[in-house]
């Protein structure tokens, strides 16, 4: 290809374009225009889908099918048009498209296929993409090991396909379905019978020979790799488990197993899926049994010096940048199941990861792996009973890891870990942490109110936030649950996940022992039952039948029904549909559509091979099509099109294509001086841009900074690199189509401003990025309000602003375009300061006062 310099020098200013080349260029320009239009439309569909996902709307499968089909067609068009523009350079994109399309079709058909896979997969080969095969727990563990390089035990996963083979080999499916379908889960007695029957059927069947063989081979390999006699733990990893609903403790884990017994333990865990509480749990949540095929993990047993749980945010104060650690000597299992009162540490998630709080517990006994197999309780040596079981250094390391893991999964996590003899932290599992936060401060009771509602208990730790009121019901044994009345407060000595069967009826839970890291607490958060743990004396102080109010946040139990507190906590609980099958499906669909992996066009991974979602395909086609228009003019080696660069002092690279009469023929070289521009829309718009002070960083609050950083972290090089991204303007004498990228914002301004008023229009589309949704939304509101003042018809959907203005005379349009130039610069860093609604109003006023 000849250089720009070369063909500009050769070119005669008055030379007439080659008609064939001009025709080809015009045709491609036509395709490009259609591509731009489709690009806007797909962005609108995606924004609409995201809006529906926030829980404000009710919709059905029909809505999903229709919109996904529209979206698919448009994305196909984009690929087709890009290939038309580029002479079939990007046909690879069709393959990615087909694959995503197929996945979406399967999801929409609600076919939950158990993927055909190997029966066993070593951890080295597992990541999140294998979730459907190995279950959420193992997929997350693989992600920790293979994507984040964090230490996890050696091991392998037994896939859902192995489950299918087992059930299929013994023809168990039909019988199980029949029994579950006939069951009324509100009758606890029937639940027990069905559960026992299904479990027995599974346990009496032998492991099929082909599975037996694969398991034997796998643990032999594990022994070879480890180089010594080992024991393993076998952990359930059901499909659907750990992805959204926590299913905490619902399915079994067996620790310290002789590898020769893996087959037996495998069956035991399969059977554990059908305990009464597990059946209740997944039928109650609307899942069908065949959707819950089971994966499993076998990993070498870590002889833990200490272990426990790491919450990447504190359930009480999720907004603080702190992680919370519960730890105990020996196996962390005791912390997870709530059978001990652990040490509690708070640690900053910001370097240098300082320990903020250290509350060691008195630890009398601990659980360890028994040399004979299994696990056992032993006494904690006297000297270590009151000693914290983690050093400051280990706590800081956990704080650091909390930050890494949370950022990777983009959601607070509930992580189980172990500390081995060499003080190495090893991760055993991670899953989303259920939290819900509330705005404003809870009401404070006056002295008079306190005399009316005496405080019965004022101690313990919060297991799940909220306030609930009802009569006390003390639970000693599992069978007591059968009589648990609706609306009562459950009081017991130790927490147990078995209580899930009454959680939909309970107004509160108060226990003598346990920690917020227990399975039961995770379930309570999921069912939103206000829960206080570790009060030491609830069962002694609270009397059966006594009316009480549980304020879990304050760890207080009041006598009587304190309406003031109850009312405060009965506010909107967020998206009420979050856990419905439709929304779970919707989320999976959006996962194939919305995430953007292709962020930086200058990086080598900005390529068809790295497109994983529709959004990637959309971004790639738009970016590449715009670039193709330029390379087209590069290679044309004639005056058919000219790729030039606007000369400017601003840190922006703006490339210009002249479609006829947009740039003076007297312009020489690649750089175009401002005065050489003939396209009036660009002249006026650019005047607006240049009249503004280029925004330096405004003062910003820490949250603002964090929210912007969190969204730029995925983009290597940060903002400075983004500036190197090109903006493009297609010009004619009275036409401009300008896609201007400033930081993360993309504004597209299309102007037709001829003599015919009736044909004139301005389209202004603004799409933001680089901050949290609410900040983007606020910024979009500033833009919308100003545009409305300018006379646009504005349609704002979340952070997408689509504004149109028609039939204005040129003189009017000039004023408006000047203001748009100013507005474009003004919005550049707005989201850095958009920390509350008052700023929105202030910004609008400031802009209108100074610039309109």
């Amino acid at each position: 290809m000849r250089s720009f310099k070369g063909w500009f020098r050769k070119k005669e200013p008055e030379s007439f374009p080659d008609p064939a080349l001009t025709a080809a260029l015009r045709q491609k320009y036509g395709a490009f225009r259609r591509l731009l239009a489709d690009d806007q439309e797909v962005l609108e569909i995606i924004t609409d889908l995201e809006e529906k996902y926030n829980g404000e709307y009710l919709f059905d499968m029909q809505y999903l099918r229709t919109n996904i089909r529209r979206l698919s067609e448009k994305v196909y068009n984009l690929i087709h048009l890009l290939n038309e523009i580029s002479n079939l350079k990007y046909t690879d994109l069709y393959r990615t498209y087909e694959q995503i399309q197929q996945e979406l079709n399967d999801l929409l058909a609600q076919k939950r296929k158990i993927p055909v896979d190997e029966m066993v997969l070593p951890f080295e080969r597992i990541s999140l993409e294998k979730e459907e095969s190995v279950g959420g727990k193992m997929a997350n563990l693989g992600e920790l090991r293979n994507r984040l390089g964090l230490p996890v035990p050696r091991g392998f996963a037994i896939t859902a396909y192995a489950y299918k083979a087992f059930i299929g080999y013994h023809q168990l499916q039909e019988e199980i379905s029949r029994q579950l379908n006939a069951l009324d889960i509100n009758r606890l007695e029937d639940l027990l019978v069905v559960s026992r029957d299904i479990q027995e059927r599974i346990l009496e069947k032998p492991i099929p020979p082909f599975l037996e063989e694969t398991l034997t081979k796998s643990y032999r390999e594990l022994i070879e790799k480890t180089g010594s006699e080992i024991r393993v733990s076998v952990r359930s990893s059901a499909l659907g488990e750990d992805s959204r609903l926590s299913f905490a403790g619902q399915y079994g884990t067996v620790l310290n197993v002789d590898p020769r017994e893996i087959g037996e333990k495998y069956k035991e865990i399969l059977a554990s899926k059908f305990t009464p509480r597990a059946i209740f749990y997944f039928i109650g949540k609307g899942f069908r049994e065949e959707e819950l095929a089971m994966g499993m993990g076998c990993m070498i047993m870590i002889p833990a010096k200490a272990g426990g749980v790491l919450y990447t945010v504190g359930p009480e104060n999720p907004e603080r940048p702190e992680a919370v650690i519960h730890a105990h000597w020996g196996l962390g299992k005791t912390v997870v199941d709530g059978s001990v009162s652990p040490d509690l540490f708070r640690v900053s998630k910001e370097p240098p990861f300082r320990v903020k709080e250290s509350l060691p517990a008195h630890k009398e006994k601990m659980m360890i792996a028994d040399a004979e197999g299994g696990i056992k309780w032993v006494a904690v040596p006297l000297a270590r009973r009151d000693q914290p079981c983690l050093s400051g250094d280990t706590i800081s390391r956990l704080g650091h890891m909390a930050k890494i893991i949370e950022e990777h999964f983009r959601h607070p996590q509930d992580i189980e870990w172990a500390l081995d003899e060499e003080d190495q932290i090893i991760f055993l599992q991670t899953r989303p942490l259920k939290i819900f936060s509330r705005k404003g401060n809870p009401p404070v009771l006056s002295a008079e109110e306190l005399s009316q509602y005496p405080v019965l208990l004022d101690t313990g730790v919060t297991g799940a936030q909220g306030v609930g009121s009802g009569p006390v019901f003390i639970v000693g044994q599992e069978r007591d649950l059968i009589d648990f009345p609706s609306g009562a407060v459950l009081v017991a000595k130790t927490p147990s996940p078995k209580w899930v069967t009454v959680m939909s009826k309970a107004k509160g839970i108060v226990t003598d022992l346990g920690s917020s890291a227990s399975h039961m607490a995770a379930l309570a958060r999921e069912f939103r039952v206000p829960t206080i743990l570790n009060t030491h004396k609830a069962t002694q102080i609270l009397i059966p039948g006594q009316e009480v109010t549980v304020d879990a946040g304050q760890c207080r139990v009041y006598q009587g029904q304190v309406d003031k507190l109850i009312d405060y906590f009965e506010v909107e609980p967020g998206n009420p549909f979050e856990d419905t099958p439709l929304f779970i499906l919707f989320e999976k669909i959006l996962n194939r559509i919305v995430p953007l992996n292709l962020v930086d066009p200058t990086q080598p991974d900005f390529s068809p091979a790295h497109c994983r979602t529709f959004h990637d395909l959309i971004r790639f086609t738009h970016q590449t099509a715009t670039q193709e228009m330029f390379s087209l003019s590069h290679s044309a080696q004639s005056s058919a099109g000219e790729a030039l660069q606007l000369e400017t002092n601003l840190p922006l690279e703006i490339l210009l294509i002249d479609l006829g009469g947009g740039i003076s023929p007297l312009s020489k070289g690649r750089k175009v001086k401002g005065e050489m521009i003939l396209s009036w829309p660009l002249l006026v718009f650019w005047k607006g841009v240049q009249s503004m002070k280029w925004p330096g960083p405004k003062p910003l609050d820490m949250k603002g900074f964090a929210s912007v950083v969190a969204h730029t972290a995925a983009e290597p090089g940060g903002e400075s690199r983004i500036y190197s991204e090109k903006s493009f303007a297609l010009l004619a004498a009275d036409y401009m189509n300008f896609s201007i990228r400033l930081g993360y914002h993309l504004s597209t301004i299309e102007v037709m401003g001829g003599a015919e008023e009736g044909e004139n229009f301005i389209n202004f589309i603004f799409k933001g990025g680089g901050a949290t949704i609410d900040r983007r939304d606020r910024r979009a509101r500033v833009v919308s309000t100003v545009l409305e003042r300018l006379g646009f018809q504005v349609n704002q959907k979340m952070d997408l602003v689509d504004a149109r203005l028609f039939n204005h005379p040129r003189a009017e349009m000039e004023k408006i375009l000047l203001a748009l130039g100013k507005l474009t610069v003004y919005t550049k860093q707005l989201d850095m300061v958009m920390f509350n609604d008052a700023i929105v109003d202030w910004s609008i006023e400031e802009f209108i006062k100074e610039h309109l």
Binding site: K52, L58, F59, M61, Q62, P576, F577, P581
Partner: protein, 144 residues
Amino acid sequence: MAERILIVDDEIDMLELLELIITDRTEYEVVTTNSPLEVTDLLKKQPFDLLITDLRMPDIDGIELIERVKQVDDQLPFIIITAYGTIESAVEAMRKGAFDYITKPFRQEQILLTIEKVMKWRRLQKENIALKAELEKMKKGSDA
């Protein structure tokens, strides 16, 4: 006794979302079915104050369902839910006496407000019937 709403839609997901939001945000009792053929039986068995029905369903469509419902209870108010783009049938439904119609997808507030309007009207309607009966009784008394 709590007022009762019967919801008919062949899409179980829609039924679930509607039931969730209504029971979560109001005091009304909700019964749902994804089989329009079952509706007349349900109405015969127990009284309802409002019927919310989808317009397009596989067994019988909403318009046909309205006809059948009227034969059992011609006083029962109903709200029609239509998919985007089927406004014509919604107009027909309104002609047949639907209290209102609502187009999918819709905001939570939209359906809750519409239900509130119907229920207010329903209470007036019941009061009206009771007063009329009273009047009849008085009339008969004075005639005698």
